[in-house]
Each structure stands twice: as C-alpha cells, then as structure tokens.
Symmetry: D2
Subunit: 341 residues, 4 copies
C-alpha cells in the first residue's frame, strides 16, 4: 500500500499516523518530493481499512498494491480450480479445465410436463446440466414469482429421469434446506452482494454459481467469491452475465473481456450467461461462440419448450432446435480452443 | 400498452395473440400502416408480462403507457404521504410535507461512548433522528462487519438518553425481531432488490427507508417500494444516494434530478444521502444545499465524533462542527423553499 | 508519480528504467517490500507519458500524484478567475465571483421575429446574456441543421436591439471568422475533445464556454480547458450539462457534485445547463435552484417563445413566463448563498 | 410512429396537432382507452422531429417504430456491402463478405525505421493493411501529438515498400487533402459525432472507417454512418472499440454484442479494435478470437516494433511475435466460422 501525503502536512499528525501503523505491525518508508511525500507500507496491509486511511487529514490519497482477496487469488493458487459436481442419482460433472460445460433449461419451471420435456431435449443436444428457476427475482410484486418449493420438486424429478445435475437460484437464507437436492446453487446478480446469504452458503460445500451483479466490478465479484471461500466453501463457479450501461438495445452489455481478466486474477472457473445478458434470443448463438473463444469454461443458456404449444416465453430463450444449433456451432470451434463439451 | 407488430405478420399467430389478450379481458384496437401495424391495448394491462409479449414472434416491440406501480403512484394518490415516526420514549417525527428532516450519526456504531457523544451533538445541532450502522454491508469479508445486535442495543441507549428516534440498516430477514426498538428500518442500496427481505418488511407497519440501488433506475426504485406497499406497509421513505457511473472522482454520482421526478411520479417522501453518494466530506455541504433546493424532504448525513480522539473515520463523515455548519446553511435557504428543519 | 514494480523484476530492465528517468531529470527513491517495490519519482513528471510507463514489462502500475493540468489548476492560481465579457454595443458582463450569470434563449434561432421576441423577454426577466443555436449538432443528417451564418446575423441583430451579449455554438474550425460578433463562443459537449478546434480557439482571447462531454470525466474537462489555456486564451468558462448513464428517465444525468469539485480543482467559473441535461422542461426550475445551491456561477437555460404561436418546441424549453418564475425563485435563495443575478 | 396522449387532453390542442400532422402528409388513427389515448401515425415520419413532438403539451410520450436511418439500413439493402479498398501501388482489398481483414500497425508513426520495420513484420504475419497514427487525439495538450503530415509521408513510404494499403485517422476537415495517399480514412471515437467532418468525408468516395464513440449507442453510430452515406459515400466500415462503463480494470468495455446487432440492422461491414477497447495487450488475443466468433469482418490491432530497442510503447500494443500468434489462433477457428484471412 502507498500513501500519498499532502503538501506541508502537520508533523504531529504524521507521527500519529506512523504510530498507528506501527501498532498494526506495518513498516514504512518515506520518499519526499518537492510537492508531496510518499509513504510506502510494508507488511500485511489487508488489516487496514482503506476508507479510514483516506479520511486522515494529512493523507491525499491511498493506493492498494495487493489485491484484497486471497482465497480466490491466482497468485496464491496458481492451478485452475476444477469444481466437482457430485450428483448421486446422475452423471457427476467437472467444471473447469478442458471441459466446456453447457447448462440449459427454462427461465422458470412452469409444470411437470414442461420441465421433463425440456430436460430430455437439452440432454439430447449435449447439455451437461439442467437449469430452471423455482424462486424468481421479479422487479414487480405483481409478476409470477415462480413455483417455489414445488418448482424445486419438479426439477428434482427431471434430474431423476434424465440423470442431469440441476442448478437453481436461491434468494433467501431460510431456503437453504429446500435446496438439498439441488446440485449447484445459483446466487443471482441481484444477490451478489447479499453478504448474509453469502456467509451462509460459505458454510456448505455444495458448488455455488455466483453471478456478477449488474453494477459490480470484477474486483467486487471476486470479493463476493471471497465471502463464500472464507467460510470454507471452495467450490465456487463465477458467471459473467452482463453489466448495466447506457446502451439500451441489449438488456445489459455482456463484458466478455471479464473472462480473460478473471482467468488471470483467479483460479476459479468462469461461465457466461448470454441469454440474460443480451435479453435477445437471436444474440445467444454469436455470443455463446464469442464467450467460448474468449476462454470461458462453459455457458448457461435459457431454452424453452415448443413455442407452438405456448403463446409466449422469454424473449431471451431459444427453442430446443436453436439450442442444438448453438451446440453444433460450438463443436466447430472448441477443438481449436483446446476444450470439449 | 401498445404493441408494434412486425411487417407482414402471420394471420394465425395474430389471431392467437388476440384470443390470449381477450382471455385477460384486454380490449384491442388495430392501426395499420404501410410498414407496420400498431395494436393498442385497453384495460388493466398490469397483468401482462411485458417480456413474454416481446417474445411473441409477430411482435416487434411493446411500449407500456401506464406505470407498473399502483400503491406508490401519485396518479392514484395525489396528496403527499407524510410518514409518521412514532417513538414512544422520544420525539415523534413526521417526514414529508413542509418538514425538512435531517437524520445524522456515525457510519458504524463503535462504542457506547462514541454513539452517546455523537447523539448528543447532532441533537444539539438540529438533527431530528439518529442514524448508526449495527449490521454493515462490507465488500470484504475481512472488514469490520459492525457490532450487530450489540450495536442496536447501544443505539437504543442513545435514543433513551436523547429522545431521538433511531434509524439502522437491516440485511437479513431473520433479524427483523432484533429491530423492534429501531424506529425506522433502512434497506440499503445493495438490498433494494432483495425481494424476499422486502416482502417481509412489507408485513410490518414500521417506517422503512428504502435506498436506491446503485445501478437501479427510478422505476425500479418505485417497484421495490411497491413490493413493500403491496404487503400493506404504507410508511415508505425513498432515498437517493448516488448511482454508479464512469466518473471516479466521487464514489457515486448523486442524481438530484431524481428528486423532482420522484415527487412527480409518487406521493412518498424523498430523502438524500450526500455522504455515501459522494464519499467525500467536503462535498456534503454543497450537495446538502443542492438536495434541499431540488425539493428533497430531508437528508441522511454521516457525522463522526471528535477526530482528535480517533485516528480515523470514514472519508465521507463530517465532524459535529461541520455538521452544525451544514444545518446553519440549510436554515439560510429553507424558508425560501417553504420548508423548515 | 509513484511506480509500483512487479515482484522479482529483472535488474537490467530496472536499470534501463532508472537511466531513462534520469535522462528526463527525474529523481527516484525506491521502497522495497516483500511482495513488491515502490519507486517514487520526484521532479516535473508532466513530461512522462503514463501509458508508456505502464507498458514497461517490470511495471505493475503507475499512480499520478499531481494533476496533469497546470494553467487550469487552482493550486497554481488560488484566486477565482472572473471572465470579462466585453460587448461593445451592449452591457459588458463578468462571469464568476459573486455574480450569478443567467444566459437564456432558444435552442435554435428560427427567425428574426422569434429571436427578437425571446431576447426582449429574457432580458426583461433578468437574463444577462442571450443564447441561440445557429449551427446545430444533430444526430440525424435529415434533421434541421440550423440557419447557420444567417442565424448568427439574426443573433447579432438581437444583440444590437437589446444590448445583451450573445453566446452561440461553433462546430467547425473554418467558421471562427463568422463568429466575430459573437461574445462568447460555445464548444458543445460533442466537441469537447475536438482537439483541433480547441487549439484554434486557444489562439483567440474571446471567452469560450466549454461544455463537458457526456462521457467525459471531470479531469478530461479540465484537460480540454488546458488545451484552450495553453494556447493563450485565459477566458474559459466551464459548463456541466449532464453525463450519460443507465437512467433513461432524464436525457442525461446532471452531475451537480461536479460543481464543488471543479471549484476545488480549478479557478475557472462553472455554469450549469439544466435544459439539455434533463431534457424535461418541468425539471429546469428545481435543477436550476439546486445548481445555484451547489455553488454554480450561473445557468444556461433554453427558453422558447409563445407556444400559442408555434405548435412545437423543444421538450426541454421553458416559456418566458416559466423562465421568469425560475429567476424569481433563484432570487429567493441567492442572497443566502452570497450571490446576485 | 405512435403518440401516447395525456389523459383528458384539451380538444383544441388535439385538433392543432392533427392539422399539423396532416400538413406533413401523415395519416393518423386514434385508439381511445380509459386512461389514455394512442395516436398511430402512418406515412413518412422521418420528417418529424421527435423532440418537438414530445414537447407538445397534450403528448405524454412518443415511440418511433421505424429506424431513423435509411442508407445504412439493412431493410432497404438486404445484401452485405463489401467495401473495395483500391490501392494503386499495392494489393487491392475487399472488406466484408467471407473476408476476415486484419489491419495492424503502431499507435503512432514515430520514425521511418519504425514504420518500415513494423510494416514488413505485420505483412509477413498476414496483416492485410497497415495502420499508423499521424495526427493523434491526445487528452493532454502537453502529450506527443503525432508527426502529422510527416507521419502520413512515412506511412506512404511503407505502403510503397510493402504494398499494404494504409489506414490513418483524420481530425480536421482542413486535412482531407493531406490524406490523398491514405487508402482508408479513419474517423476516431472522439470525432464520431463531429458532424462537420462527417459531411465533408461524405463527399469523397474513399473508404471511411468509422469508430463508435465511447458513449454512443449503436443507433447513433448508424446515424453517423448515415451522415457519411447521405453525402454520397457508400464505402463505410464500422468499428466497435469499447464503450465507457463503471468498470475500470479495462480502459473501456468491449461491446461484442454490437457485432451481431449491427449485422442485423445494417449491411455495412463491422471491424473490432481490441487494442484500444481493453488497453491491455494480454487481452488482445482472447478478444480478437471472441470478435471473430461473434461475426466481425476483421480486426484493427496495435503492434509495436521490437521492445528491446525502445524503452516503452503503448500498454495495449503487441510485439510482432505476439501478433503472429494471434493470427495463428484466428486461423484455427475462422474456417468453422466460414471466413478466411
């Protein structure tokens, strides 16, 4: 950590600062210029609250040199983490490494027929896991909030029928028990900084799929992973799903440069959700290919069942046929990228 | 609601759409142009999921005409809501109308001495209520997480001593009982779309201070208020506290135009938090005055105790003296704006 | 400037770096920690290209300590700049200090009758100067591009009739001569980084009103002022007019915290344009008051003539009556803020 | 175009509106609901200024149905435009269709030796064209502004030696003649809405590479292309180069979803600049692959010469070896995407 001191700072306050740092076992080294002075801090600076330091009168600014996350930091864990998805009644899966994991399914679980039908179809196309929303975060209190516990039951049935491990989103610390048959628990973008929820999920060892919040930086995503990991859970999967920008054509702006950056900063696997990011089904295929080319470890894609039987479904969902075409195109480029579905 | 249909749309799908709308008791009227057709919907369109409609093949786009919120909508409640803050052991307060309510206190409750000292000082300067964080949402799991239940106890002591009603932030649905002595429960920016928490708080009738999330639109803020109100709680206070933009000089960008817009769209009172929005104590005074001039119903300001006794405090906090100066300057312009502290 | 060096950096590259810095007359001081080393630079670091430095292999990051602008920097010119607007045929004006300068007029000059009518009305209400667009930057090539040279002629007529100095926007280096009778030349948001235009305007000594670009930081605004000032023109007036964010309710998000920040960083006067920032005429009054309360030196407001004679005008424009009401309300709070119109 | 009228609107104003629309040869059709009325407009609505319409008292909001661009619109020109780059002394090139065009070269032309060396190397690796900055848009007036006319001369020499067509950025309408030997004129992000420059370039028939501004929407990019095309120049190449967001890890956020969207909305070819977008050389390879996978027609990449001979170069530039590796990896996936370098 480096502290830039104000010009002509008060000597007594400076001594106070040095004493305080000494008490924290931090060594310092001062460089004096004509217009300012620079204080270099040496030691474990993770104990320092950077906002507190900035508030000291004689401090002009503070620059952190080391990343504030440890468990998630690739510097301390150079090898890629491969997350095991143990699944008693079905295929076990590994996320990361040379695997390219495709997770597919409907936005919401709507009925037994719907979820069993989609599950069978996405499995046939090559999906490794089944996703489906049971608890739905909806902007409006008047919108459908999901089938809740019943939705989880139906997902579990689909898992028993197809053998596909299941992924579903949690929104409430009190629901953890309901998710006992869910193989990967998803933390949605809106809950990425629901720290109370993260702390509880950190006590499990079940894989957690942590989505980036729509106004959250890459560093904040890693700090939320750190909440989960500092609790003991090492099975964390990150997911880029678009950030909020001024562009309104797409629902959010998919930040694919986050993939190679995350790969550099952390050892955790990184998935991409092109469906929610763009909100437009026609963009799911090109952005899936782009995510793979950028180095993602897999995708989570919305697929709805036969549109001739339902009036409507999410504007961002693919038909099973369109999904099969995405998988097909992915298979065209993955070998050159050193990965396989 | 207006549906723009694609050019040369399939007649059968169009009939399906009309039937579906009819089933929802929605009347329609079609306007045909050369390049497109427009379907006007008449009736209670709040039952329609706009994303579902957009996904229908023959639909080009959909435009909502009515706001999706009702309880919070000024159209249906033209008069300003004035939120009563009943406070048995102390001054009752009203937020809204001609009152300009200043809430002040430290970022975190740190000790008995600290909170009692600040409480006495901000009361003397004219603060109507005391704020203090007991449960702290911190980006890092290694940062101080607040005194939690003990912090609420200390706040309660300060309330008994000074008579000031207290405001504190909740982060977990399971903590509601702990907040029984808190007069106004704050929902922080990161939890603005924690819908499970909002649903529970909607069952209370205790005033809720709902902060705008840092990537949330004004409409989303009102939809979150609607979650609270649709549960039965009418005592909602909104709070603008800055949004995330590309500008890094300030922590966030305080969106003061949100105040007159919210005043137009809703009958709920609107406060402003200049401390968290800017993250710079020197900006608290000018932005407090600006918020008052823009029509805010009050402010929530961070004040820390005597800096000579503590090395550090938040870069965004004022000393009690600087806070008194803010109040003094506010008193200079509030009469011309028709408000009083 | 502080350079953070990578762990275990190559000694030969480090020596190269030191030699290069020495050649620039920069002294250095090294602080070695366990995980990194910090190199403090002392001397005139404004000659260093920070992007080049960041690209050196052994460099982890670079932090500038001094602001990269000099002529615009308050550190080197502590007193407020007051910009004189000499205006032979009319009232001379001063912008800055205790003056609160209101500039008003139509978005576009449309006809002789229109501009003379508005000019008379805004003068009566208390406007100090007349604005009007002759060259209009329009997103669409098919939209009205302004009356161009003829528009400037009509503005000049209005100046001769009313004595109000005139402000108009320039878009092309080749038009400078056409602006000889314009008292303040405006550089619009889209041209804030049209460096070739800035260089030419820097050779004049006519006052320049420089608007912040909609994706530009405060520092970039000051660097563009520096372009003008480094050419010799000291008469620069800054203008905040909203930045582009995710919020779509308003056209842009007016960043009023930029005012006190700019006042701290620079000695130049700062105006605010609430009309373009919000794009909604109903918000002009509250945001004008807020801008004044935040410390602005004045406003630039769009006013259109009698709406009963014209079907339409900009959604962001006030009627002369509404404008008079804004001035009236400003007069209510300005004395307490130490300013007068 | 659809106009949403306010509740209980004044009949006389409504009649005025209808008369005005009739005068523009626009037919209307009214749909009346309980809470609002919808007026559908039929005919050529491109003559209507949408901002003016929004300002009419009785209008609540206006929704455009047709895109405001024509020449650039794929609806009216379904086939892909392939831009010919005629180059007398060298290889002619075509951009678009099944060609994947890689343009490479240094950020700035610095010397004869530098540009000839890089030109030879990027040609050998498979670059189709040479880029190099002669006029440099720099945030600081004190930074190197490019070799200007001399830089263009050196580029021309490199073109004569290698046969590579050359691309360079223009910043001033008065420089067009200097660019007579430049094969593709680049309009940089900061000048995307320099409409006076666009108008002049629209009179040429030389290919123009138009970069997206960092706060500009996809629609605004297409409107700027429309400026060029409405002047008669049909040889327009679009370029995505990142937008400004809250994320500070990368210089900008590369918006790759813009590629498939642009491909849908327009017939013009689309390139991507991963170097400027990310500002980090390590991200150029993954983002180049991702851009190709998302459907781009090519790339523009910064390459600097041997770093052992120069202390510094842009943090975003690749060495010639790293560039060759990018080309090599692109060749691994392009066949599956139906394109070739």
């Amino acid at each position: 950590m480096v502290i830039i001191l104000k010009q002509n700072h008060d000597q007594k306050q400076f001594d106070n600062l040095l004493n305080w740092l000494e008490g924290l076992n931090i060594k310092t080294s001062l460089v004096k210029g004509e217009q300012s002075a620079i204080l270099g801090l040496i030691g474990d600076t993770s104990v320092i609250d950077i906002d507190m330091l900035k508030a000291v009168d004689i401090v002009q600014s503070v620059k952190r040199i080391q990343e504030p996350y440890k468990a998630a930091n690739r510097k301390f864990h150079p090898d890629d983490t491969i997350v095991d998805v143990p699944c008693p009644s079905s295929f076990a899966r590994q996320i990361g490494g040379r695997n390219f994991t495709v997770i597919a399914g409907p936005c919401s679980v709507e009925s037994r027929v719907q979820i069993l039908d989609i599950a069978a179809k996405v499995k046939e196309s090559g999906s490794a896991m089944l996703r489906g929303g049971a608890f739905k975060p909806r902007t409006s209190p008047y919108a459908f909030q999901g089938l809740r516990a019943e939705g989880l039951e139906l997902l579990y049935e689909a898992k028993k029928e197809t053998g596909l491990p299941i992924v579903s989103e949690i929104m409430n610390v009190n629901h953890i028990e309901l998710f006992s048959n869910v193989d990967v628990i998803q933390v949605g973008a809106r809950n990425m900084q629901n720290f109370e929820l993260l702390k509880e999920l950190g006590r499990l060892d079940k894989p957690i799929l942590l989505k980036r919040g729509l106004a959250n930086t890459i560093e904040e995503l890693l700090m939320s992973a750190e909440y989960l990991m500092s609790g003991g859970n090492k099975n964390i999967i990150l997911c880029e799903r678009g950030i909020r920008t001024f562009e309104t054509y797409t629902r959010n702006t998919l930040d694919l440069s986050a993939i190679p950056l995350l790969k550099e900063l952390t050892h955790l696997p990184v998935l991409v959700d092109p469906s929610h990011a763009t909100g437009i089904s026609r963009l799911v295929k090109p952005m899936s290919l782009a995510a793979a080319a950028a180095g993602a470890d897999g995708l989570i894609i919305e697929v709805h069942n036969d549109p001739s039987h339902a009036l409507c479904d999410g504007a961002q969902s693919l038909t099973p046929e369109a999904f099969a075409d995405v998988i097909n195109s992915l298979n065209g480029i993955l070998p050159a990228l050193g990965k396989t579905i």
